[in-house]
Amino acid sequence: MRLAEAWRVALEALRANRLRSMLTMLGVIIGVAAVVALVAIGTGTKEQIERQVEGLGSNLLIVVPGRLEAGAAPTSSPLTLDDVEAVGRIVGDRSRVAVTVSSGETVRAGKRSGFASMQGVTESTPTVFVRRLDRGAYLTRTDVNTGRRVAVLGAGVARELFGERDPIGRQMTIGGVRFRVIGVFEALGQSLGVDRDGEVHVPVTAAQRLLGTERIDGLAIRAPDRERIDQLGADVVAALSERHPDTDFSAVTQEQILGVLGDILGVLTGVLAAIAGISLLVGGVGVSNIMLVSVRERTKEIGLRKAVGARPRDIGVQFLLEAVLLTTTGGVLGMLLGGSSALLVDRLSPVPAALTWWSMALAFGVSAAVGIVFGVVPAQRAGRLDPVVALRTE
């Protein structure tokens, strides 16, 4: 039998049972759509996070106490501003070194109040990280050296405390201590799961006094060039270890962060795809089931075809094609459904989604494979039917 003829017969059989074919396909459609949509969301999230990490600025080196590995207990920081001076000397440029000591604090202005992440920083923060002001000015070196109580607000904090009023020059309190607002950041939104608009930057010296501590939590360096970034990290870690022999220090680059995040998100996307794959499998079982019903219903037809000269293979191929046609049609529809839902999610919700060709191709390939795998048993059963027995069934 020619393949073209087998396709025609398969198509005819599916058309004869339109509703049943549609319902059977639904399992495959949903499975494929789920794979395509979930992979798109996984990929979109990964791309977004990568953009955000890259958006931190290039050649960034982050130095924190403790070891950066899974399961390592958080270490309390022994670092002080003296250490920052030492690191500044290694880097050769103090403006390339940023520090933070952070703490969640209640902020208040007049009757309004809220909760903000207070960051004690130096004047070099906007140079090291990419951070733009919407209005006002950033902290100066004098502010840091003298511990002046001035604050630069994240867009969210500014809105919460001052609404539509211009906050510049107004008074507020952080943890009960009075500060004067000198600047407001541009809105940044969420980044790496943190609300960047909920930050309040104050001079590190003022923050330390408020918290009653000498410590700083960590520091970040913008390396002068990419080639020397690993060497610089090693030098800084060595210098800090010498000053604090009891503590481990770690230096990580953006590439390393991206690598780790990429791995985690890759696994996550894989898990999502696998879960969706299971629903595709269930769809495949449905196809198998319906094909068995179809073979039983058409036993007489099979008997007749064999009586006029169909070989077992001819019958098998016919039913296999029917199953494959069912799943690949479902696969194409599922791709369209999954693709358009991903685009809708991307457009209408904060969840990012990015369609990838490989996931579409994979979903289609898998649906065809599902048709073959789950069609083989019914097809073989049809092919092996004894013509006399088949013709006798009513």
Binding site: M1, R2, E5, E12, A16, K300, E301, G303, L304, R305, K306, A307, V308, G309, A310, R311, P312, R313, D314, D386, P387, V388, L391
Partner: protein, 223 residues
């Protein structure tokens, strides 16, 4: 083809039914010469259909030897059996067995599908064959749009389209009234006159009397 179309020697067929052996044929010897016209008669359950299925290559004997077109079916693979059914034998069933939802033309052309013949040629040849059985005007009709006699003539056209040397008909007139049955019978006889061997099963004395030879069966044996 020279020599007899079908030779059965001491052929038996035993069905296994829930572990019980049911002997439907108990050693039947029969030769169908080429161009033969043979009527198979006998009581219900005597094994006529069982024998016909063996002669048509639809089933294999459990004992004895059976040569169809000179080839021993015991040595044939399922694919070779299929080819035999496709090329050497035409089978006509009591209940027609036409594909529903399929036109007369495509029903007749069905055996050619399994010869790998293209749609155009199939349509031409099946149209010609329908004309031969007097159904040129029913070419696009589906089985449920045709009378019983017409359906049986479509089935005969289908059996003939591959040019078989033997036409096996198991009670071809059993589902038809006598006038329509006559038409079908006349058609079979015309074909026989053209050289096709015809074997038919019937319960009708008159029909059987028209054959060149009569074979009477009883309890799985020829008497």
């Amino acid at each position: 083809m020279s020599g007899p179309a079908i030779v059965a020697t001491d052929v038996s067929r035993t069905y296994q039914l829930d572990g019980v052996s049911v002997p439907a044929l108990r050693g039947v010897s029969l030769t169908v010469e080429s161009g033969d016209y043979l009527a198979l008669v006998g009581a219900s359950g005597s094994g006529k259909s069982t024998l016909m299925h063996l002669l048509g290559g639809l089933d294999r004997p459990t004992g004895g030897t059976l040569l169809i077109g000179g080839r021993d079916v015991a040595g044939l693979s399922p694919n070779e059996m299929a080819e035999l059914r496709n090329t050497t034998i035409g089978f006509v069933f009591q209940s027609f067995h036409l594909l529903a939802r399929t036109t007369a033309q495509d029903n007749v052309g069905l055996p050619l599908v399994y010869r790998g013949i293209g749609r155009r040629e199939r349509r031409e040849r099946s149209a010609a064959m329908l004309e031969r059985v007097g159904l040129a005007h029913r070419i696009g009709h589906r089985p449920n749009q045709m009378s019983g006699g017409e359906q049986q003539r479509v089935a005969i056209a289908r059996a003939l389209i591959t040019g078989p040397s033997v036409l096996l008909a198991d009670e071809p007139t059993g589902n038809l009234d006598s006038a329509t049955g006559q038409q079908v019978l006349t058609l079979l006889e015309t074909l026989n006159a053209e050289g096709v061997a015809v074997v038919l099963v019937t319960h009708d004395r008159e029909v059987a009397d028209r054959a060149r030879r009569q074979i009477v069966m009883k309890d799985g044996l020829i008497v």
